[in-house]
């Protein structure tokens, strides 16, 4: 193994031997993108590389870009390294990026989730020497229930509201979370979508992801006829004039942060469903173990305690600084 690291982590994640960055936040020449969320796929790079499945949403969000696609598991030689993309289970098209130089393997996890959600390509552990892991929820208080249970409680809530003559509005990030809820609820009743959600849903449908039918909320829609339906909208739409068109509503948020009562109350919401597209504490620990890596860098979220815990477990652990020094609750979901 050479002395120089395969990836440098001072100014974002950079590969000197390949001349590319991974999820850079400043404009660069060549950007490898793990997935389409805006804090990972940013505007202004000269060339982009992402999975075929991730590209349509990235293009929709960034407009005219010079981008090429790669299949999961396909190897590509870039400069002195070989890269490949592997499912991260976070959102449709999301990937971990593996970088190999003369047998030394580094993996950048991007955002990931262990549990198969029936929509995103299921997370697969990749063996490596050095693992760069997100740790958005890197504290032991974050433990997710199985998806079937959470979807069950959403369905119960929706039904109770419908019986009381109310429409249910659920706040969920418009790419990923919204479609996961759609797919998890199946065809349990009429589901309405906010325009921002529907745009992305439509792109994913065209790509062949199986998603139930939805009704786009547009100015001409007869909302009275939809009483008792479920509406999926971006979190920012909750409690605004936008939801008033549905008459009497119950609102809830779907996010991993809803695991904490304090944050639920801060949003002024009684109801919160704990649905996260990130790994929980147990997920992070098992994923890191499965890589077999001895060296681990953590990024996003509770990096300080998580790094310390990893060190105590015998890992050679460090922190990758992000643009903001660290993430705040509710930014990353």
């Amino acid at each position: 193994m050479s002395h120089d690291p395969v990836l440098t982590l001072q100014q974002g994640i950079y590969c000197p031997d390949g001349g590319f960055h991974i999820d850079p936040w400043r404009p660069v020449d060549h950007a490898l993108i793990t997935h389409g969320h805006s804090d990972h796929a940013r505007w202004g790079h000269r060339r982009y590389l992402a999975t075929h499945q991730a590209l349509p949403v990235i293009r929709h969000r960034l407009g005219q870009i010079d981008a090429s696609g790669i299949a999961y598991g396909e190897s590509l030689r870039i400069g002195g390294v070989t890269v490949s993309f592997h499912p991260a289970g976070h959102v449709p098209g999301s990937a971990q990026i593996r970088v190999e130089r003369r047998g030394e393997v580094w993996v950048v996890s991007g955002d990931y989730k262990i549990e198969a959600d029936g929509l995103a390509e299921t997370f697969t552990p990749v063996r490596c020497h050095c693992f760069i892991s997100e740790c958005t929820f890197g504290l032991p208080v974050f433990r997710w229930q199985p998806q079937t249970m959470v979807m069950g409680s959403i369905r119960d809530w929706w039904q109770r509201n419908a019986e009381a003559g109310k429409t249910s509005v659920i706040g969920a990030y418009s790419f990923g979370k919204a479609q996961r809820i759609l797919s998890g609820l199946g065809n349990a009743g009429p589901i309405l979508t906010h325009g921002a959600v529907e745009d992305t849903t439509e792109i994913l449908r065209q790509q062949g992801y199986r998603l139930p039918e939805t009704i786009r909320v547009s100015p001409g829609l007869d909302t009275a006829a939809q009483r008792g339906a479920l509406v999926i909208a971006p979190p920012a739409a909750l409690g605004t004039a936008w939801t008033r068109r549905f008459g009497e509503v119950e609102e809830a948020m779907a996010s991993g942060w809803m695991a904490l009562r304090g944050l639920r109350r801060r949003r002024g919401l009684g109801t919160g469903f704990v649905v996260s597209d990130h790994a929980d504490w147990g997920g992070l620990v098992s994923a890191i173990r499965a890589t077999g890596a001895e060296k681990v860098f953590v990024t996003h979220g509770y990096t300080v305690p998580f790094r310390r815990w990893l060190s105590e477990q015998g890992y050679d652990a460090g922190i990758v600084a992000t643009e903001f020094g660290e993430e705040t609750a509710e930014v990353a979901e």
């Binding site: 032991p140 208080v141 433990r143 009562r261 304090g262 310390r308 020094g325 705040t328 609750a329």
Partner: protein, 532 residues
């Protein structure tokens, strides 16, 4: 227990008052007698005594979850609630077989008699029997931090709905120091006419006046008096027993032994509302609040303390006379009876009247308010002459018109994350003033800003941290705030030598650079003014 935990979950998951009342009323209708009596007690603020220390709980929970203690503490700092942190990190229990609420409360009471090992075994075993929501509630009960976003008014309304009884009667039943073990549900609701105990009445509360007093209309329909800076209390004399209740419904009779002799002078069946202050006999005025603080903090009162800080009860309302509840009569009538009663007593007693302020128009009252500090008052109280003595707060008839706070502009030097609803937001700040080239920290404050502003500051703190001391961050001295406070006094315990009363952020002075903040000298000037 599971029914009570479910009630807790429902109350916690709605912000709508009507939904809360319905959930409470349903519970009161359906729960067994012993359980609902406990529920009433817990919901109306009667917390069980803490039977285990929070340190023990942290250690046991971390051990049970196989986590190092420091990681538990980090988690606690983020969650901001000890009971919730424990509930979140414990491994899933082995059985789910929660005991009844009343049985659980009995077990908890028995804990304090056990050895530490037995206590630990009991608590670990109970955790094992409970689901996540029950664990949260149980932890809140053992940490003594059981609080819910339910006012006593809501509990009273729900009880009225479920029993068909009158709200006013129920509100009075809920007062005082009854315990679920000292009564039964039927007896609790049933003793309509007896006044055999010294139970206080619900305190009538005033709202802050935020509009000009002229908006209240004809000044002749209003009375005014000083807003004293002491502790609010009800002094009750019934059947030879004298009791002093604080607004928090704590019986504080024993802390003020000088009032004991009043039982020889007050007629039986008397309830007074007023302010407990420490009396400066020379000036014939109350002393500053810190003199009273010495008295509040201590259970045993020495002769020396009695001489140095003698207490006095300044009466402003009469709620019960001759054993009869007169709260529904008009304020002027109650006030007239109060004056007759108090002026007939020997002048040497530690009991006096809060004098009415004479004013013909609002402008005159405004001038008097400006002089409140001279009589060591916080402002004036304005009450409608016809008003009854309300149960709790009723807007429109009683107003407090406080003095504008003192203010200084200061720079933030330390930040710490908040708790509970404000977990993950930096909300607790330390501020400094300039002293030559140095910045001297002089106060902390954590209220007065909007959640949005706290969010903005939180992002700023993350980018501008210079140093970390556990949960505390030292930040670049750059953000300037106007700090308001109600009082100021010397304090050898503070680095600045000065302590403030009720400090809070009035606003974020984005318009001011840190070079323009006030100096320690300015603050010393205010101190001199307060002492003079």
């Amino acid at each position: 227990m599971n029914r009570f935990a479910a009630l807790f979950a429902t109350l916690d998951s709605t912000t709508k008052t009507s939904a809360k009342v319905t959930a409470l009323a349903d519970y009161f209708r359906s729960a067994p007698d012993e359980d609902r009596l406990w529920a009433i007690a817990l919901l109306s603020g009667k917390r069980p005594r803490r039977s285990v220390s929070s340190t023990q709980l942290r250690v046991w929970a971390a051990e049970k979850a196989s986590l190092p203690l420091w990681l538990f503490e980090e988690s606690y700092a983020v969650v901001g609630d000890l009971a919730e942190t424990i509930a979140l990190i414990l491994p899933v229990g082995t059985t789910s077989d929660p005991p009844a609420l009343s049985a659980l409360m009995g077990d908890l009471a028995a804990l304090s008699g056990l050895s530490e090992d037995r206590r630990k075994a009991e608590i670990l075993a109970t955790w094992d029997r409970l689901g996540p929501m029950e664990r949260l509630v149980f932890n809140k009960l053992i940490t003594g931090g059981f609080r819910l976003g339910v006012s006593r008014g809501l509990v009273t309304r729900a009880l009225a709905q479920s029993t068909g009884m009158d709200e006013g009667t129920l509100a009075h039943r809920l007062m005082g120091d009854w315990t679920p073990t000292s009564t039964s549900f039927d007896r609790f609701l049933g003793d309509q006419e007896t006044r055999a105990d010294t139970r206080p009445y619900p305190f009538a509360l005033a709202s802050g006046l935020e509009k000009p007093p002229e908006d209240l209309g004809d000044a002749s329909q209003w009375t005014a008096e000083w807003k004293w800076d002491g502790i609010r209390g009800q002094l009750i004399h019934r059947d030879g027993l004298l009791a002093l209740w604080s607004r928090g419904e704590e019986l504080i009779t024993d802390r003020f032994p000088e009032f004991a002799l009043l039982s020889d002078f007050l007629p039986p069946g008397t309830a007074l509302d007023g302010e407990v202050v420490v009396w400066d006999a020379d000036a014939q005025l109350p002393m500053a609040f810190n003199a009273l603080q010495k008295r509040i903090g201590r259970k045993s009162v020495t002769r020396r303390l009695l001489a140095e800080a003698p207490a006095r009860f300044i009466a402003y309302d009469l709620l019960e006379a001759g054993g009869k509840d007169i709260r529904s009569t008009s304020l002027i009538e109650r006030r007239a009876r109060l004056e007759t009663l108090v002026t007939a007593l020997p002048a040497t007693l530690p009991l006096g009247l809060s004098p009415p302020l004479a004013f013909d128009d609002w402008a005159r009252l405004g001038q008097m308010r400006q002089t409140a500090r001279q009589v060591r008052a916080e402002g004036v109280m304005i009450k409608q002459v016809q008003s009854p003595y309300h149960n709790g707060r009723k807007r429109g008839e009683w107003w407090k018109w406080k003095l504008d706070p003192w203010t200084v502009d200061a720079v933030m030097v330390y930040a710490q994350a908040g708790h509970g609803r404000r977990a993950n937001l930096f909300t607790d700040f330390t501020f400094a003033l300039r002293d030559g080239d140095e910045l001297v920290p002089f106060t902390k404050a954590y209220s007065g800003l909007t959640d949005q502003e706290f969010g903005e500051i939180t992002r700023w703190v993350q980018k501008n941290t210079l140093e970390r001391f556990g949960p505390v961050r030292r930040v670049t001295p750059e953000l300037v705030f106007e700090i308001g406070f109600e009082g100021i006094q010397e304090s050898p315990r503070h680095k600045s030598g000065i302590a403030l009363r009720f400090p809070r952020m009035i606003r974020w002075r984005k318009d001011k650079p840190p070079s323009e903040i006030d100096t320690l000298e300015t603050l010393r000037g205010l101190l001199a003014q307060a002492q003079g």
